[in-house]
């Protein structure tokens, strides 16, 4: 079984199908899961690489982008010496 990849689908053309329509197509796709839909311009999906490539190929004006994590900003220590 192919390894699942998590990808961002980003709407890049103004005449591309809207987010809701794209989300519906993903829900109907057999091998791709829609993980999040809370942006007016992008969707978070998971699936095999081949399935994602096929999906993006049919979504004119959309592109697939890799996911990246950001570490929580360092909350620097606030006190060096304690009273007393």
């Amino acid at each position: 079984m192919d390894e699942l990849k998590r990808m961002i689908l980003n709407r890049v053309e103004t005449d591309a199908v809207g987010v809701d329509d794209a989300a519906q197509q993903i829900r109907e796709a057999p091998d791709i899961e829609l993980l999040r839909q809370n942006s007016p311009t992008s969707l978070l999906i998971e699936g095999a690489a081949d399935a994602i490539s096929g999906l993006v190929g049919g979504l004119k004006g959309w592109q697939a982008l890799p996911t990246v994590s950001y570490a929580r900003p360092d909350v620097r220590p606030q006190v060096l010496k304690t009273p007393g």
Binding site: I8, T41, L44, R72, P77, Q78
Partner: protein, 269 residues
């Protein structure tokens, strides 16, 4: 929170089952100090009995949480989604006190869309002790902010003391924070050492970082927008261009050099 004005929350799906997180505009349950401190620097309101206030206390602040409510890393999907939602909501400025991950196209695209919409994106340079400016501050579209401090504004035996390193400014009390990243992408410098601001549960406390310098510049950018009619009248990428020009034009070099301070510390003329 009574000590930070304005506010509308945007909570992602991960917190929808947490009624408190959905209903309250407030800090994340875990590690909420950082965002609360940043918000207070931008728009903390003066309360009775307190002399504290943010740089732009009349600004309305919206919180777009990208770090999970229960702690952990942020995903670039959430960062890009937050930027897109902020644009759609009509926000004027986006503060990004985050960074350091691998360069990612989704966040870059979001920042580009913000610029095209006339939204100013201000980002912290990073706290990696003189390493290159981190992503996304290094993106041309962002206003990249380094951090400086001033001796005498914190105790000599505080955790801030080791950050007092060269280069010093024309006024030798001024210094570029030892932790601050630097490089040719730096646009302006802001105060980021020993900064007092808001904390959860109506408290106040001290933090240091380019995360603190960034919202100080955001507050100043809000001041510019409120006082420069040409910025209000302009739209789209032209407004972002004029806004950046006004911000950099207000910069007063402290004597550190361009790679450390860009055009300097923005000040009212």
């Amino acid at each position: 929170m009574p000590n930070v004005s304005g506010g509308a929350n945007l909570i992602f799906d991960e917190t929808r089952d947490d009624a408190g997180a959905v209903d309250d505009w407030g800090p994340a349950k875990t590690h909420g100090e950082h965002g609360t401190h940043v918000a207070g620097i931008v728009g903390g309101a003066a309360l009775a009995g307190s002399t504290f206030r943010g740089v732009a206390p009349a600004a309305e602040i919206r919180s777009y949480r990208v770090f999970p409510n229960n702690g952990g890393d942020a995903q670039n999907y959430d960062i890009a989604a937050a930027i897109a939602r902020a644009i759609a909501d009509g926000c004027h400025i986006i503060n990004l006190s985050l960074g350091g991950g691998a360069e990612d196209e989704a966040t870059r695209a979001g920042i580009g869309a913000a610029l095209d919409a006339g939204v100013l994106v201000v980002a912290a340079a990073g706290n990696d002790y003189r390493k290159p400016v981190s992503f996304p501050a290094a993106v041309d579209a962002c206003v990249a902010v380094s951090a400086y401090g001033r001796s005498g504004t914190f105790p000599d035996d505080s955790v801030e003391a080791p950050e007092v390193v060269r280069p010093y400014g024309v006024d030798p009390k001024d210094f570029v924070a030892g932790f601050s990243n630097i490089g040719p992408q730096i646009d302006v410098v802001g105060p980021g050492v020993g900064i007092v601001s808001t904390l959860p549960e109506d408290k106040y406390g001290v933090m240091s970082g380019t995360s603190m310098a960034c919202p100080a510049i955001v507050g100043f950018a809000a001041y510019l927008l409120s006082t420069r009619p040409e910025l209000k009248q302009a739209t789209g990428a032209e407004r972002a261009r004029l806004w950046k020009s006004a911000l950099y034009g207000a910069g007063r070099p402290l004597g550190f050099g361009r790679d450390y301070e860009g055009s300097g510390l923005p000040r009212m003329s």
